[in-house]
């Protein structure tokens, strides 16, 4: 029996216009996109295509100039910056190309960060962060600072940080861009596994073999969606 659930992400005719000096730059020109819970989507495009802008909007770091972006039914266009911060804290996990861990701070504390801003008791923060680190295979490295970890390990800490708050959406922006092949594969394996467990993953990349891990490929060019097709049968369907 099919259950109708409203989609996680609905973009309707989104435009993003930046003003640089006297010139308006149209980074997004009418993007419409729907992503269901449990999908694994790769957003591809060359630099300057608007994929970073799209990523920022999907991650609630930015708002569209025109059009609508609904995450879990909530229209972000009408929200204040503090409300956006709350959505990022509760619903979105970020993984960046350059890891973006806080320097001179242990892996555990880095992984704790979203819970810290959620105001959880310290004990609970630590327990959840330790569990997240274990899930990405970093058990025993809790007290290492980022400089004591390899690139792959740092990215895994970043994934743990993204996971710890049990978000509804994991946004990975070129997660393997700074990693060697071996580490890249490990990171992609973790992301695939998370997706199998039901996490919605959106991957921004320009590498085809990375994008190949995803089940759906959205190509952006000049601020518009050029193609959008399913590359793999969905391995998982979210249940209501």
């Amino acid at each position: 029996m099919a259950v109708i659930v409203n989609p996680l992400i609905v973009c309707q005719d989104m435009w993003k216009v930046y003003r640089i000096g006297d010139v308006d730059v149209q980074a997004l020109r009418g993007v419409s996109l729907t992503i269901e819970r449990g999908e694994f989507v790769a957003i591809m495009g060359s630099s300057g295509s608007g994929k970073s802008t799209l990523m920022n909007i999907l991650g609630c770091l930015d708002k569209p100039s025109r059009g609508h972006y609904r995450l879990n039914g909530a229209d972000t266009g009408s929200l204040r910056s503090d409300q956006l911060a709350e959505i990022r804290n509760q619903q979105i996990g970020f993984v960046f190309q350059s890891f973006n861990l806080i320097p001179r701070t242990s892996a555990l504390e880095n992984a704790q960060l979203p819970l810290f801003y959620r105001g959880l008791p310290l004990k609970q923060q630590r327990a959840l962060a330790a569990a997240a680190l274990q899930r990405v295979g970093l058990r025993g490295r809790e007290e290492h600072s980022p400089t004591q970890l390899s690139g792959g390990q740092q990215q895994r800490v970043a994934i743990a940080r993204a996971l710890v708050a049990t978000p509804s959406l994991l946004l990975a922006d070129e997660p393997t861009g700074n990693l060697d092949t071996q580490s890249s594969r490990e990171i992609m394996d973790i992301l695939s596994e998370l997706n199998k467990d039901g996490m919605t993953v959106i991957l921004v990349t320009h590498e085809n073999d990375v994008a190949a891990c995803a089940a759906r490929e959205v190509v952006i060019k000049d601020g518009q969606i050029q193609s959008d097709h399913v590359t793999k049968a969905r391995t998982h369907v979210a249940e209501a």
Partner: protein
């Protein structure tokens, strides 16, 4: 919860940049220490002045003759000799506020002891004058009413006079000296009083009974005329009323018409003290201002270091925002860091300030009083300075655009 963790984070960040935090703290430390040390010195000076004023005796009122006005030309104060022993006795009788009145006449005289001689002020006073002015004795004692009545040739010497007339170790009490060639017996030596508030040596004096001075040594203009009258009130609150009553009684005694000005001047200890106290008050305020400026400079140091810190940690701020830190969280983080600098700097500053005040007393011998008010105010001020100068950097951090902050290299 958040606040506590933020404090811990702030402390860790400060510990990480020990040298930098230390140098920043130094500004606040010096500022707070300066405020405390300066106020202590100022308070010490004020108390020294108060002690000088107290050396005049307690609740003392002095009455001098006014300057004469002859055909519109004003003479100096004390130019006319209009006060008498009768005035003094009458004042005591008529004004219940006054516990006692005394009087003196004065002149500079040559004093001889053996081969030594000295020239100083010789006061012919009533015994009551000695008690009013609160003289005490390092040896011997005062002359009495009987000495006054019999015009006894007895003298009390100030410390400076003793030093100049007697060899070291020689006992002055009981010695025979000559004042203006009249033989006197020394019956007492005053304890040192030091400099007066206006700077003259209060120990360079010889006191003899008024009657002796009048008849045998100084002579007076007319019988019973005195240089000045001193009166003492029981309570300092009574001084003002006492002055008014003295004025009334004196005007009647001197038969002054309504339009005539007083032919005498009345001063209380309070009047004389006010000028001196005002001076040290000014000194305290000036020192405070200078110290506050250095505290302000310390605050600018905090702002400077926090601005550097905000720039340095732009990316970190971006990360924190991306994982859900609200503006108020970022703001709090930097404000708490600034306040931590203020608190730590303030505490160290208080310690150094107290130390500096103590050292000033030990090394320079200046009296200092560490006022708890100054300590508390300086500390609160240093925290407030931290907070105030932290506001701008904290606000700057909180207003960062997360996208740009994340991309910041």
């Amino acid at each position: 919860m958040f606040t506590w963790l933020t404090i811990v984070t702030a402390l860790r960040i400060l510990r990480r940049n020990r040298l930098r935090a230390g140098l920043t703290l130094l500004g606040i430390v010096i500022g707070v220490a300066a405020v405390i040390a300066m106020v202590s010195i100022g308070e010490g000076a004020k108390q020294a002045v108060q002690k000088q004023i107290a050396s005049m005796g307690t609740n003392v009122i002095l009455i001098w003759p006014s300057g004469t006005t002859v055909g519109g030309v004003r003479g100096a104060q004390g130019g006319a000799v209009t006060l008498t022993v009768g005035d003094a006795l009458d004042l005591k009788k008529k004004i219940p506020f006054l516990t006692d009145t005394g009087w003196y006449t004065r002149g500079a005289m040559q004093i001889v002891n053996g081969s030594h001689n000295w020239n100083c002020s010789v006061y012919g006073t009533s015994p009551s004058y000695l008690t009013i002015r609160d003289w005490s004795y390092s040896s011997g004692g005062a002359f009495t009413q009987a000495d006054l009545d019999s015009a006894a040739r007895v003298a009390i010497l100030g410390q400076t006079v003793v030093e100049n007339l007697f060899d070291h170790g020689e006992e002055p009490v009981g010695a025979a000296i000559r004042i203006n060639n009249v033989p006197f017996r020394v019956i007492g030596v005053f304890s040192p009083k030091g400099q007066s508030a206006s700077g003259w040596d209060q120990d360079d004096v010889v006191f003899i009974p008024y009657s002796t001075a009048e008849r045998k040594v100084l002579g007076t203009l007319f019988l019973g005329s005195v240089g000045a009258i001193a009166a003492s009130a029981a309570r300092s609150e009574d001084l003002e009323d006492a002055v008014e009553e003295i004025r009334a009684v004196m005007r009647v005694r001197h038969r002054l018409q309504r339009e005539q000005p007083d032919d005498f001047t009345i001063r209380t200890q309070v009047d004389m003290g006010q000028v001196q106290e005002g001076t040290s008050e000014t000194l305290t305020v000036m020192l405070m201002v200078i110290a506050s400026v250095s505290l302000l400079v310390g605050g600018i140091g905090i702002m400077n270091i926090l601005l550097v810190s905000v720039t340095e940690r732009t990316r970190e701020i971006g990360i924190r925002m991306a994982v859900g830190a609200k503006r108020v969280h970022i703001m709090m983080q930097f404000l708490i860091e600034a306040m931590t600098l203020g608190v730590v700097g303030g505490l160290i500053g208080v310690a150094f300030g107290i130390l500096a005040a103590r050292l000033t007393t030990i090394i320079a011998g200046w009296p200092t009083i560490i006022s708890s008010d100054a300590v508390v105010i300086a500390f609160i001020f240093s925290v407030a300075v931290g907070l105030f100068f932290g506001l701008y950097p904290a606000n700057k951090a909180a207003r960062l655009n997360p996208i740009e902050a994340l991309r910041y290299e």
